[in-house]
Symmetry: C2
Subunit: 136 residues, 2 copies
DNA sequence: CCCCAAGTTGACGTTAACGTAAAGTGCGGA
DNA sequence: TCCGCACTTTACGTTAACGTCAACTTGGGG
């Protein structure tokens, strides 16, 4: 059975971040691992949270935004109807933001296509004297 | 004919950023508008560059990355074959990065779906006493 | 028992991306 | 002519997200 908990070092190595980063996220309230004495112990759930944060980072989310996201995934038992409605609203917001990013990516992909085309055109029409030595 | 150049203030208003930001981008080498005396004059091309930077920001790109992107779109006449190959390589990198982001967005959308579902479940099963006053 | 690797808590340093305040320039209108 | 507004440069301040020591403690191996 795949070991259920991790040390901070293990997590850091696996996710390719530093322990400092993990502790920082804890300071920011994004994680709250258990303790055995002083030592932090991370559950699979903590690992999931971390990966969620890192995914957020890859999309340009701030830690505050990632914290919001994490909270969205937690309809805690103590949420009343009003709070739940607010949650649904925030979910819709995030969704809209993702759609905007999708659009931005599409546009950027097209621009990259054009850039590549121009680049290849330039290679074909380039002065052959600038060839940098692959012919004997 | 739609006026061809813009003042820094016009651009700032249109793109919803500050003039400080625009000047900062210039300091970072992302823009180099013409001058009429001291005053900066922005061409449509400058405007395009700016929008490109802002799109990059929405996707979490740093200004350095945006500068790279801008350079990708400029197969300057003075690029030799070696440089052009390097450009194609960078274009491929950016493409890969965008694909990663696309994947991240997909995953996140699914997670939002689940979050929304859980949230609505919670609303249905919630203690009706927490209803905050919409029934007469 | 002692050491070392891996953990811990401070605390200060650093980088990116601007904000903000100060002090001056240039120009179209009353 | 003087006002006001938009522009300019210079320079210091700020926030987020860590990096980088320093000075501990702690559990297991020789």
């Amino acid at each position: 059975m795949t070991k259920k908990t991790h040390s901070i070092g293990e997590l850091a190595r696996e996710l390719d971040i530093t322990t400092r980063t993990i502790r920082f996220y804890e300071d920011m309230g994004l994680l709250s691992p258990e303790r055995r004495g002083q030592t932090r112990i991370y559950t699979p759930a903590d690992r999931v949270r971390l990966k969620l944060i890192l995914r957020g980072k890859r999309l340009g989310f701030s830690l505050a935004e990632s914290r919001e996201l994490i909270e969205l995934y937690n309809p805690d038992a103590d949420n009343n109807q009003t709070q739940l409605k607010a949650l649904l609203g925030k979910i819709a917001e995030k969704r809209a933001q993702l759609l905007r990013q999708l659009h931005d990516i599409e546009v950027m992909q097209i621009e990259l296509d054009e850039a590549e085309r121009r680049c290849q055109d330039a290679m074909r029409t380039a002065d052959p004297s600038t060839l940098s030595g692959e012919s004997a």
